[in-house]
Amino acid sequence: MKPSPWRDLAVGSFVLIGLAAIGYLSLQVGGVSYKGRGGLLLYASFDEVGGLKARAPVAVAGVTVGQVKSIRLDDFLRARVTLDVDEALELPVDSSAGIRTAGLLGDQFIALEPGAEEELLVSGEEIAYTESALSIERLIGRFVHDSGIEND
């Protein structure tokens, strides 16, 4: 087959477009969900994390400031969650962390509520005040139980 510059150009463009498509899939579509800065590592222990997963968003007043880095069981059989949030964030030491659900059937995320202290949380510290995930089954169970007592 005779060498043809046009054919070489077509193959070169094909390779470039193919690599661009792979890059688009990897970086844009498959990228991490939170693209902001991390650096401030905080820990929080919960009695119940429900459906919380690693990479779930961490939000202050509804604005995403970081993500859940890992979830594991600690020595006291509570769920120990590591949060990776923007290091520029100035959170008071008495801030609290709660597991919330976006909408009725949405994914779970961690909502941080700033406290009132002057002192700020630094990397590696523990968030003392936590609020576990709301379990619908437990809620219904309590409701049924309570209404049963009232009927007696």
């Binding site: 087959m1 060498p3 054919r7 070489d8 077509a10 193959v11 463009s13 094909f14 390779v15 477009i17 193919g18 690599l19 498509a21 792979i22 688009y24 899939l25 990897s26 844009q28 579509v29 498959g30 990228g31 991490v32 969900s33 059937l105």
Partner: protein, 263 residues
């Protein structure tokens, strides 16, 4: 009388099983030879570029068109079903995951088998029929090195690119139907897609699948062509069996990869 007939059918089963095993072994030996040539110079880059043109560039149009159509129809079907549960906002996640995990690599492999794999087998088979392969051997040129290797490598190389193109066009097709036609919010569509697709599991998985499928289709097409009967019927048999075997192999390996890696 009946005993002899039973004996005959059992013998037939045994012969067919042996043939199947011998065929698989021959193919494995052939793939091994091609692979050992592939990592040794001379690299024959000019031959490789020509084959990538045939397999890759000429398949771009059909892959992009099919991708856009598949994405659009997924958007439509997904919308109808999801809106029944009031979950139409996760259309982006559904379309994206289905495409990246399954439909992208599998449909691309099936399309490329029909578009380029059959042509590859037919070309080699007619070279066998017209004694061109023997002619190469007479000039002490190894036909596996000169003819088979560039074709198989081109298939391996072009498949991931075509797969990525297919998925990107399908994502745009789904976006066009979901957002432009059905009026979903564009930001919600894109965000739910981007949040549900994971780089390590989904995107790496689709690339792994397409590389494996490329190797499979390339190996089957060249093997069927290279071992075809040197007759006109042999050419058509090689083409047919390439399409049938490669399609089945792609579907079976898709299940195996999904089961093993969970992608």
């Amino acid at each position: 009388m009946i005993g002899r007939r039973v004996q005959g059918s059992v013998q037939g089963l045994g012969r067919r099983s042996l043939d199947a095993v011998v065929g698989l072994g021959r193919m494995a030996a052939f793939v091994g030879t091609v692979a050992s040539h592939a990592v040794r110079p001379p690299w024959r880059l000019r031959r490789l570029v020509d084959e990538i043109f045939d397999v890759g560039v000429l398949s771009v149009a059909i892959v992009c068109l099919s991708g856009a159509t598949v994405g659009a129809v997924l958007g439509l079907q997904g919308y109808v079903t999801l809106s029944r549960f009031g979950a139409a906002n996760s259309l982006g996640a559904v379309v994206g995951l289905v495409l990246v995990r399954e439909l992208g690599p599998v449909l691309t492999a099936l399309l490329v088998t029909g578009r380029a794999g059959s042509a590859m087998a037919a070309e080699i088979a007619s070279m066998v029929t017209t004694n061109q392969v023997d002619g190469l051997r007479m000039m002490s040129i190894d036909p596996v090195d000169f003819v088979v290797r560039p074709k198989a490598l081109a298939m391996l190389f072009a498949m991931p690119m075509l797969n990525a193109l297919f998925i990107v066009f399908a994502l745009f097709g789904g976006y066009a139907v979901g957002v432009e036609l059905l009026g979903l919010d564009g930001g919600t569509y894109v965000t739910s897609m981007e949040e549900s697709i994971d780089l390590r599991n989904d995107v790496a998985g689709t690339l792994l699948k397409s590389v494996v499928f490329g190797a499979l289709v390339g190996a089957i097409a060249t093997y069927r062509g290279y071992t075809s009967e040197p007759t006109a019927a042999g050419v058509s048999a090689a083409t047919t069996s390439t399409v049938v075997t490669a399609s089945v192999a792609v579907l079976v390996f898709d299940y195996v990869i999904t089961a093993l890696w969970g992608v």
